[in-house]
Amino acid sequence: MNALRRHRELERIWSSRPGWRGKLTTVNNNDIGLMFVFVATAYFVIGGILAMLIRSQLASPHSAFMGPDVYNQVFTMHGTIMMFLFAIPLFEGLTMHVLPRMLGTRDMAFPRLSAFGLWCYVFGGSILIFALLAGVAPDSGWFMYPPLASTLGSPGVNADFWLIGITFVEISAISAAVEIVTTVLLYRAPGMSLEKLPIFAWYMLVVAVMILTAFPPLILGSILLELERAFGMPFFQVAQGGDSLLWQHLFWIFAHPEVYIIFLPGAAVISTVLPVMARTTLLGYRWVVVATVALGILSFGLWVHHMFTTGLPHMGLAFFSAASTLVAVPTGIQIFAWIGTLWKGRPEMHLPMLWIVAFFATFVLGGLTGVMVAIVPFNWQTHDTYFIVAHFHYVLVGGFVFPMLAGLYYWLPHFTGRKRYFKTGETAFWLVVLGFHGTFLLLHWAGLLGMRRRIDTVEAGSGWELINLLASIGGFAMAIGFALVILDVAVNVAVSTRSRRNPWRAGTLEWAALSPSPSYNMASLPEIRSRYPLYDDPELPARIARGEGYLGEPRDGLRENLAVDISSGRPRCLVIFPTNSVLPIIMAAVTGGLFVGMLIKAYWLVPVSLVGMAVIATWWAWTLGSGEDQDPRPVGNGLVLPLASELKRPPGWWGSLFLLLADVVFMGSLLFGYAFLWTVAPNWPPPAYLKPGLLGPVLVLGGAALSIGGIRLAQRALRHDEKPWPGLLLNFAGLVSLGGAAATVLARTVHDAHAFDATLWVIAGYVIFHVIVAVLMTMFLTLRAVVGYLSSRRIGEANIVGLWSDYAAVVALLGLGAAWLPGAFT
C-alpha cells in the first residue's frame, strides 16, 4: 500500500461525518480540540467586553453608567468567565489537538469522553451566559463567599446559576483530566520512555493530576452551598453550627492550585517553543521536570494565603506564608532554565519569540509582587485592593495569555499548513503588550493608595482618578490588540499560501505529521529513540507516511492504536477505538437536565436525569469488549500484541483509577469539612450526636465483608472460567446492606437542624450514591457474563467493577464510621 492509499484508507476510517452532523457526533481529537479553542475564544471575547464595561465605568468619577446591581454582575461574570470558561478549556483544546501527535499516538485515550466533556462545557457555559443576558447573573464576586452568596445576602436565583452552571462545566475539566493522564501514561509511540517524553507532556501530566485533586473541594463546596440555599442545610450558617470560613477553605484549596493549573500550560508552551526559537534544546530537562512536579504539589499548600485577613492565628498564617515564598523556587528554576537555554542557543525574534519576551517582562513582575503579598503584614494592607488585582492580572495574562499566543503563532503553520502572510500580528502584539502594562502597572499604585477592589465608582478626590483614566485608555488599546490578533489569525488561515512542513525546524513528533493534521494523526507509529525524533532522523515524516512504523496497515475498517508500558514505553497491547457516536452529546444533554432541574427547582428532573444517565452509560459501555476470546494480532514490524480487552488492567481500568483519585479527594474534603466544623465552628456540639445503635454498624460491617468478598469470589471464578453468579450475588447483597446502613443515618437525623446533621446527610448521600453506582455496575457485569462477554482472559471489566465496588465499601466504612464517632464516645 503506498502512502497516498494509506492516507485515504486511514482518513476514511478515522474521519468524522461531514457537515454539522459530523460536529455533533465527532469523537476525533482534532475536531474536539478545535471546538474547545473556538468556544473558549468566544468566551474570552465576552469576558473581554465585560472588562471594557468595567474600565469604562471606572475611567473617571463621571463615567459611571451602571448602577451597583448591574456592575456587581459585570465584574463577577468577568472573573467567572475568565477563570472557568476561558483558561482551562483553551489549553484543553490545544492539548487535545496537539498532544497525541506529539506523543506519536493516534488519538486521546477516551474519545467519546472528550466529546462528552466538550458538550458539558458548551451547555454549562451557555447556562451562565443565559443568566448574563437575562440580567440574573451571579453578583457576589467570582469567589462567592457566604453569607453574601447564600440565602441571607443573595436571595435571588443569581448565585444558583453560578453554583449549578460552574459545577456542570467542571465535569468537562475532570473528564479532560482523566483523559490527559491516561493518554500521557499509556498512549505513546513505542520506545518513548518517561525520560524521552516531550516536556509539554510532563507539564500536562502534572496539570491533569492537579485538576483531579483541586476541583473536588470546589465541587463539594458548591454542592454544600446549593444544598444550603435550596434546602436550608446550614453548612455555613453560624446559628446552626455552620461557619462561613468552611467555604473559604474549600474554595481556596481549589482556587490556589487552579491558578497554577492555568500557569503551568503556559510554562509548557514556553518550554516547548523557546528552545526551538533559540535553535537549541531545553537546558536542564530533568530539573524542569523536577520543578514542574514540585510546583504542582507545593501549590496545594498555599491556599490560606488568600485568607490572611480572616483572623487565623499567626502560626497558621506563617506556615502558608513560608510555603508561598518557597513556591517561587521551582518557578525560578524554570525561569533561569529558560534564560540559560537562550544563552545556550541563538535566539531568533520571530513572532512567537516576541510573545515569549512579553511573557518574561510581565510574568516575572507578577511573580515578584506575588512574593510580596505572600508576606503576611504586607498582605494585611494590600488584600482586597487593586494591588492584588494588578498582581493577578500580571501573572495570569503574563503567565498564561502571552504564552498561549506564542503557542498559537508557533503551531499555526502546523494546524493550518499555511505560512503567515500579513504582519498584522506584530501590530497586535505591541497594542496588547503596551496596552496591558498601560492598564495594570499603575493600578499597583492605586492599590497602595487604598483603592479597594470591586468598588463600583472612582470618587472625585480619592487620589486615583488619573491612574484609572490611564488604565482605561490602556485597556481599550489592549482590547483593540486582542481583536486584531483574532482578525490576524482568521485572515491568515483563510488566505495565506501553503507552507513547507516544520518551518521552525523543531524536533518533536507533531511536526512529522501532515499539516493540517489528518483525522488519524499519524499514518504509522514510529519507534522512538530520543527526545527529539526529528533531529535524529530528518527522514522520519516520509517513513511514517510510508507505513514503516507500527499499525501502518489499516485493516477491517478499525480505529487501531497502541498502548505502552508506563515507564519504558514498550508496546503492551492493541486498542480498538470507538467511532463517531451521538451518545456523548445526548449524555451531556441528559446530564444538563439534572442541573437545570436543580436550577429551576423542578426537582423531579433530577432522578429522571439520573436514570437516563445510567441507561446511556450502560449502552456506552456495552459497545466495548467482545463476545469471544481474541488471538493476539500483528501490529507491524513483526510484533504481535494482545487486545486491550484481554488485559487485567485495560486503559479503562486506569481511567477509573484516576477518576477515583478525584473521588477520594472529594471524600477527603468532606471529612475535612466535618472535622473543621467540629473543631472551629461556633454553636457545637449539636443538640444531640447520632448514636450508632446496633443496626447501622452491623449492616455496614456485614455489607463491607460481603461486597469485598463477593467481588473477589466472582473475579476468582472468572479466572478459572467458572460462572461468577455466587460472587456477584454476594457483592450485590453486600452493597445493598451498605446502602441500608447509610439509610439508617438519614432516618435518624434531620437534614436542616444543625450543621452536624446536614454533614451526616451529605456523607450518607455520598455513600448511597456510590452504592448505587456499584450496584448498577454489578448488574452490568452480570448481564455481560450471561451474554458471554467475560472469560478468564476478558476479565478487565470485572476488575474495573471491583475498583468501584471496593470503593463503595471503603467510603461506607470510613464515612459512616465518622458519622457515628462522636455519638459513640459521648
Binding site: L185, E195, R286, W287, V290, I297, P313, M315, A323, T679
Partner: protein, 106 residues
C-alpha cells in the same frame, strides 16, 4: 506506575504532614484543647514533635529512593526522584519551622 510513585511520593507525603500539622495547630487553639486540660506549652511540644516526625519521614525517603532495593532502574527517574526527595526534606523544614518561632494561638 511505580516510577510515577517514586517521583510523586516525597512531596505528597509533605502535603499530608503539612496539613496534619496545620490541623493540629487548629485543634490546639480550639476550645477542645483547653477542655481536655491541655495548654499552649503542651501545644508547642506536640507541634514540634509532629514536625520532627515529618522531617524523619522525609529523611527516610531520601535514603530509600537512593537505595538499590527501592531505586528505579532508570537513571533519569532515579535522579528526578532523589532531587524531589531532597526537595521534600527542604520543604518540610522551610514550611513548618514556624512551630518553634511563632506565637501559637494569636
Amino acid at each position: 506506575m511505580s516510577d510515577i510513585l517514586r517521583i510523586s511520593l516525597p512531596l505528597t507525603v509533605w502535603l499530608a504532614s503539612f496539613s496534619a500539622v496545620y490541623g493540629l495547630q487548629g485543634i490546639a487553639c480550639s476550645q477542645h484543647w483547653a477542655a481536655a486540660g491541655l495548654d499552649v506549652a503542651t501545644a508547642r511540644v506536640a507541634l514540634t514533635a509532629a514536625w520532627i516526625a515529618a522531617l524523619a519521614v522525609q529523611v527516610a525517603f531520601v535514603f530509600v529512593l537512593g537505595s538499590p532495593r527501592f531505586a528505579s532502574r532508570s537513571l533519569f527517574v532515579r535522579t528526578v526522584s532523589r532531587i524531589l526527595a531532597a526537595a521534600g526534606l527542604v520543604t518540610t523544614l522551610w514550611t513548618l519551622f514556624p512551630v518553634v518561632t511563632t506565637s501559637v494561638c494569636i
